[in-house]
C-alpha cells in the first residue's frame, strides 16, 4: 500500500511559480529565497505530470493529475490522483498543511474502498522511493539560517549561492540534511539548482530546474525537474497543461473528491 504513495503532495510548490519582475538588488539570502517562493502570486495550480523513477536500468513511470490551492485561512491543500499505470490508476492522496506546519494526510486506494488517514512521515523521508523528500516540497524558511556565500556563473547565468543551515541539530536529524545550497538567478530569481548535503556534510543529491517557461503572463516555472543522487539514482518530474488561477474550489480538494472516480 505504501508504494503507491510515491508522490503525494505539492510538487507544484517545490519550485514555485516565479514572478519575472522581481529584482534582487540588495536583498539578504533569506529575502531572496522568500522572493523566489512567490507561491502567493497564484491562488491555485492544476497540472498533469509524469514522474520517472530511475534505479540503475529499471525505470517506473507514473502519470498524475495534481491540484493545489492556498486557502484564505492559510491552509495549503494538495490533491494528487494517479492516472497510470493501470495498477495504481485511481489512487489518490490528499495533503493538508496548516499555517502552524501541522499536516493531515489521506490516502485512497480503489481496492480499499474508503479514504484513510495516514501517518505523517519524517520531513527528510523519501516519497516512497522517489528522490524527492517531504522537505523539498514544504521547506520552511524559518527552520534555517540563510546566507549568501557566493555569486558566480552557472549555465551562463549570474547566480547567488545561498547556504541554508538548519537552526538546530534536532531539525537537521529530522530533515536528514546538514545544509541546502541554492543557486538562484541574480536577475530574475529563478532557482536553477539545489544541492542537499547529508548529516556527514557530503553532497547527497542535486535538484535541477529545467525548461523554465512562462505559463501565464509574467509567471514562470520549471516544467521539468530532475533529482540526481550521489548513488546514481534519479527522479524526473515533468509537468504538462499547467494552469493557474483557474478558480479551484477548496471543497474540490477534500476527502469526498479523493474517492470520486477520475473524470
Amino acid at each position: 500500500m505504501k508504494k503507491i504513495l510515491i508522490l503525494s503532495t505539492v510538487f507544484a510548490l517545490l519550485f514555485p511559480v516565479f514572478n519575472q519582475t522581481i529584482i534582487a538588488g540588495d536583498l539578504t539570502g533569506r529575502e531572496i529565497l522568500e522572493e523566489s517562493q512567490t507561491l502567493d502570486v497564484v491562488d491555485d495550480f492544476e497540472a498533469e505530470a509524469s514522474l520517472q523513477i530511475i534505479r540503475g536500468d529499471r525505470t517506473r513511470e507514473r502519470e498524475l493529475i495534481m491540484l493545489s490551492i492556498k486557502t484564505e485561512d492559510g491552509e495549503e491543500r494538495a490533491l494528487t490522483r494517479f492516472t497510470a499505470p493501470s495498477d495504481v490508476e485511481g489512487t489518490g492522496f490528499l495533503n493538508i498543511t496548516y499555517p502552524d506546519g501541522e499536516e493531515e494526510s489521506w490516502l485512497y486506494l480503489p481496492a480499499m474502498g474508503s479514504e484513510r488517514r495516514m501517518v505523517s512521515d519524517e520531513r527528510g523521508g523519501s516519497f516512497m522511493g522517489s528522490d524527492f523528500t517531504y522537505e523539498d516540497i514544504s521547506m520552511t524558511l524559518d527552520d534555517y539560517y540563510h546566507e549568501i556565500i557566493d555569486q558566480q556563473e552557472l549555465n551562463e547565468r549570474e547566480v547567488y549561492v545561498i547556504e541554508s543551515v538548519p537552526v538546530s541539530d534536532e531539525l537537521a536529524d529530522d530533515i536528514e540534511a546538514s545544509k541546502r545550497v541554492t543557486y538562484i538567478d541574480s536577475e530574475n530569481l529563478y532557482i536553477h539548482q539545489i544541492e542537499v548535503f547529508d548529516l556527514n556534510k557530503n553532497l547527497d543529491r542535486t535538484i535541477y530546474a529545467e525548461n523554465i517557461e512562462e505559463i501565464v503572463e509574467g509567471l514562470f516555472m520549471p516544467l521539468r525537474m530532475v533529482v540526481e543522487t550521489e548513488d546514481g539514482d534519479s527522479t524526473i518530474l515533468e509537468y504538462r497543461n499547467v494552469q493557474t488561477d483557474v478558480g479551484i474550489d477548496p471543497a474540490d480538494l477534500s476527502r469526498r473528491n479523493l474517492s470520486r472516480p477520475i473524470q
Binding site: 505504501k2 508504494k3 510515491i6 523513477i53 534505479r55 529499471r58 517506473r60 513511470e61 499505470p85 493501470s86 495498477d87 490508476e89 493538508i96 496548516y98 501541522e102 493531515e104 481496492a111 480499499m112 474502498g113 474508503s114 488517514r117 495516514m118 501517518v119 505523517s120 512521515d121 519524517e122 527528510g124 523521508g125 523519501s126 516512497m128 522511493g129 522517489s130 476527502r255 469526498r256 470520486r260 472516480p261 473524470q263
Partner: protein, 357 residues
C-alpha cells in the same frame, strides 16, 4: 472434463473477456481495466495453482453519473468460478452522492477485521484471500456537510456469509425486512470520530454452523493522529433480534491498532482484537520498503488464551509497470484446537504474479 479442456475453456474465457472489453471500450469510449493473475501454492498436503482474471468496465455518462461493472473468473483447474463483482450506478449531487447496485461497503478504521465492517457478507471459502467481501445489492446515500458525513445503506435482501461446503439457513428476508446501516462521522485535523448503527445477518458457530439471524449493532470508530503515529479503535455492541436473545448473549467486539513510522522506510503496527466471549488476539506487523520496487512485510497474530499464533512473511517486487510478483509463507503454530492451530495443515508457501492492463 479433462485438464486440457479446462485450460482451453479458461483461456477462451479470458480471451473473450479481453475482446469484449476492448470492443466495449472502443465502441462506447469506456474505461476498461483488466487484471490477470496466477498464484502457485505449495504445502506438504496439497499443491495448487489458482488463476484469476478480473475485468472492470466503467464510464462517466455525464459529469454527474458514473457506471461501473466488475467481473471475475477464477479457476484452480478443478473448478471454474464466475463471480460478479461490483456493478453500480453513481450519482454525484451537490452535497449528496448516491450509489445503486451491487456494491462493497467499507466501514471501520482498523486494518483487517473490523467489528463495524459488517455490511457485506464474506466468502469464507478461502481464509487467505486478500479481500473476501461479497458485493450486495444496496442503495447507499452519502451526505456531506462541513467536516461531517452521513451515510445510509439499505439492502433490500440481506445475505449471509458464504460458508464452504454448507448451505446457510436464512431468516425471512424481504423489502420490509432489510439489512440497514447508518454511519455519522466527523473529522478534525487531529482525529476522526464515527457513530454507527447496523442491522445485518450474523451466525454463531457455537449455536449453529449454518443458521443466520438478524442482529442490531451500535458502534463507533475513533482515529487519533499523534506526531508521526496513528491510533485507531473500532467497537461494536451486538444485540441479536427476537428469539435468539434467549440463547445468544449481547456482545461487545473491539479492535484497536497503533501504527508508527519508525523511519521513512519502516512502518510498525501493533494491535489487539477480541470480544467479551472470545480470547484476545495480539497483532503485529512490520512493513519495510527496501527500495522503490521491493517491499518486505512480517505479520503475526498471537492468541493470548490459547497461546497459538500465525506468522506471515511476504515479499513483493514491482517487476514492471503494472506487473507485481509476490512470494510468501504462512505458518500456523501450536495445537490444532486453537484459533490458528486449526490451520496447521495449511502451512504453505505461495508465489503469485499479477498483471494489470
Amino acid at each position: 472434463m479433462t485438464r486440457k479442456l479446462k485450460v482451453a475453456v479458461i483461456l477462451s474465457l479470458v480471451l473473450a473477456g479481453i475482446i469484449f472489453a476492448s470492443i466495449a471500450a472502443e465502441a462506447f469510449n469506456l474505461s476498461t481495466d483488466m487484471e490477470l493473475g496466477i498464484e502457485y501454492n505449495y504445502n506438504l498436503n496439497q499443491t495448487g495453482i489458482l488463476n484469476n482474471f478480473n475485468i472492470e468496465i466503467s464510464d462517466w455518462v455525464n459529469s454527474d453519473i458514473y457506471l461501473l461493472a466488475d467481473f471475475e473468473i477464477t479457476s484452480d483447474l478443478d473448478e471454474i468460478d464466475f463471480n460478479r463483482g461490483e456493478a453500480y450506478l453513481d450519482y454525484y449531487g451537490q452535497n449528496t452522492d448516491y450509489r445503486i447496485g451491487w456494491q462493497a461497503i467499507s466501514w471501520g478504521a482498523v486494518d483487517g477485521n473490523s467489528p463495524v465492517d459488517t455490511m457485506n457478507p464474506r466468502d469464507l471459502s478461502d481464509p487467505f484471500a486478500d479481500d473476501n467481501k461479497i458485493p450486495v445489492p444496496a442503495i447507499a446515500v452519502e451526505h456531506y456537510f462541513d467536516n461531517t458525513k452521513l451515510v445510509f445503506i439499505y439492502q433490500p435482501v440481506a445475505e449471509g456469509d458464504k460458508l464452504p461446503g454448507l448451505t446457510p439457513e436464512l431468516p425471512d428476508r424481504d423489502l420490509k425486512n432489510p439489512a440497514l446501516g447508518l454511519r455519522y462521522s466527523y473529522s478534525s485535523r487531529d482525529f476522526d470520530l464515527a457513530g454507527i448503527y447496523s442491522r445485518t445477518l450474523n451466525y454463531n458457530p457455537e449455536v449453529s454452523a449454518t443458521e443466520f439471524y438478524f442482529e442490531n449493532s451500535i458502534g463507533g470508530e475513533l482515529v487519533y493522529q499523534f506526531d508521526r503515529s496513528i491510533a485507531r479503535l473500532d467497537m461494536a455492541y451486538n444485540i441479536p433480534e427476537d428469539d435468539y436473545q434467549d440463547f445468544i448473549d449481547n456482545e461487545l467486539n473491539y479492535a484497536a491498532t497503533y501504527e508508527i513510522n519508525i523511519t521513512s522506510d519502516l512502518l510498525f503496527l501493533g494491535g489487539i482484537q477480541g470480544s467479551q466471549s472470545d480470547e484476545d488476539i495480539l497483532i503485529f506487523n512490520l512493513d519495510y520498503m527496501y527500495d522503490f520496487y521491493q517491499n518486505i512485510s512480517l505479520g503475526a497474530a498471537y492468541s493470548l488464551e490459547e497461546s497459538d499464533y500465525l506468522i506471515n512473511l511476504e515479499y513483493t517486487n514491482d517487476i514492471a509497470d503494472g506487473m507485481e510478483l509476490k512470494a510468501g509463507l504462512y505458518y500456523f503454530g501450536d495445537d490444532n484446537q486453537g484459533d490458528y492451530g486449526q490451520f496447521q495443515d495449511d502451512d504453505h508457501i505461495y508465489l503469485s504474479i499479477t498483471r494489470s492492463f
